[in-house]
Amino acid sequence: MENSNDNDAITLDLLPTRFGRWGKIWTFILLLLCAIGAYAYFLQLKNGLVVTDMGDYVSWGIYISNFVFFVAISLVGSLITAVLRLANVHWSTPLTRIAEIIAVSAIIFASLIIIVDMGRPERFLSLLLHGRLQSPIIWDVIVISTYFVLSLLLLYFPLLPDLKILIRVNAGNHSRLNKLYRFLGSFWKGNPEQVRLSEKAINIMCITIIPVAFCIHTVTSWLFATTYRPGWDSTNFGAYFISGAFLVGAGAVVVAMFVFRKAYHLEKYITELHFDKMGRVLVMLALLYLYFNINEYLVPAFKMRKPESAHLLDLFAGEFAPLFWFAILIGMLIPIGILLFKEGRKPLPMFVAGLMVVVGAWFKRYLIVTPTLLHPFLPMQDVPGRYHHYFPSWQEWAIAMGSLAGALLVITFLSRIFPIIPIQETITEQHEKAV
């Protein structure tokens, strides 16, 4: 009887709820940003890529930076769900759904933003029909599609027991939401055979998604590293990108943890212990990424080969120096400084550190993509003056911000539809603890 009451209490606590006033304002702001982005994209479709500031030299600008950012953040699904699950870490249970939702939304917008970067998006199908298997771009298309499917499945399988609860709670309700729940999970009865099949599928998926996740970001790094350019010509790029991806993904989860905890009053489920544990993970990942950064910049800077020197000096003390040091400080050094101390791993400082990591990571992607393109091997001669610099046009900013808002909107809607913390898993864990 007591157990049943506990279960009901947990269910009630974790059920998705309607947006409150702030939720509506938040959703409206995101919709507005998406609408502005959509209008800017309409202008780009109408007039072509000429509306951007990209040109003969900087042919990959803010869109590709955004793409790399989304790909990076999508890796969090594999980190929190797959890695920690396989390592038999139980404290991460309340965070798995958040990580899976972030992964799905990020990979959706990674796919979309790459199409935005295409001058002739109507020819996207040609990429699949006539693509060359020798090209890392085709590898990226394949691996992103695969990761998208696996991320959806990784979200779906653990959701099945919760769907049963949602259908039960909403019994007699004929809303569209309930129809969706029934469509997705009415077949789930929770019998031992179903549980066995589901557990097996999740385990196989967790094993599969880790190499696929590594592939998605390694292949993305190869888009750059297979090109002989200063700043990209590195054998270290795959590991460098993966470490950065895990960092930004973990940072995003920390931010989402804090926001959902506040918004849905989940203090009982996302506790200070979770922040402390995630803080330790985050500081370890930040140190790891810092190590790779030192490798990436110090070694070429020590040699200062002529083609590299202009690029490096521009980063260290030139046009990109403020942005570069901002990304290093905000994205790594200051969060490390905060998170190394126990007091820094409390919810609010963690939120600030997580936010810094995410913002720093976005600018870091921009610094990986753009400065290299402004430093070709052959001198830039007899070209218009604007070719020597790149600053995104308002359309580029609007589309990039619109895509970020879109990803947040997907997260917002998914958190409105599905429980942000797995209900059934939480109940099971509570029972196990009680036993």
């Binding site: 693509g131 020798q134 695969t146 077949f187 097996k200």
Partner: protein, 291 residues
Amino acid sequence: MKRLCNVYPLLFSLCLQLFIGFPADGQDSAGKSLLVDLSYHSLNNSVVYLSVHAKTKENGKFQPVGGARFRLYLDKDSAACFAGNAVTDTKGSAMSFLPPSLKNQWNSAATHTFIAVSDAAGAFNPSRTEASVVKAHLEIDTGQGKTIIAKIVELKNGEWAPVKAIEIKVAIKRSGGDLAVGDKESYTTDSTGTISAEFHRDGIPGDKSGQLTLVAKVEDNDTYGNLRVEKSEPWGTDLILTDTFDQRSLWAARFKTPLWLLLMEYSIFLSVWSVVVYLVIQIRKIIKAGR
């Protein structure tokens, strides 16, 4: 008084010149001078052509003049002796072959003068340049032990007579220019008009059957112009072309992907997607188990 009388005409003439100006020099200095180099070329003693190079001096430096138009004549600048038009390219160079219509005139004498005339155009003044040549033949042959023999003869009193003390270069024709056959830059003809050069480029690649094109040439000679003769000899090594075009490679077309890459990609793709298919089958099983 007598001295003063002598000065007045001088002063008068000076004032007159100031008033009416300096017609000849004044007009010339208004435009830029075109510096023209006109050269005669003979290839294998059969093809005769002229080359024109136009340049001007700007800020103390020579600059090529592109688009300069020249009318070329043989011996006289009359319509009957017209040899053709030539317009310089961006490097200031142009060439024109001697037309068959001037064959009789060409054969009628041992010495000829070529004339290049340009009208005033743009900032440039009109120009007229002449170049005289004595008809000469250059011959090339090979001797024993890979020796190249070249001989120069000139047309003198209706006879071909050897010419001594002429610098002849002996080389191998390559795609980027001519490569000297030995260490010496050039050879000087003896009293029989002959030189002999040793071939020191063993092992150099020729064409598919090892054929090399040997070249003997006289360059920028004041009397004979530019003469060049060529002869083919199988002194090179056979060229074996390894054409990688249209073969399986990382840079080939999509249907020419290397097999090892295809194998790797398909293995990875199939293994991962077989898991995805397996997971979808699991969903079906879960649905069945719920019925």
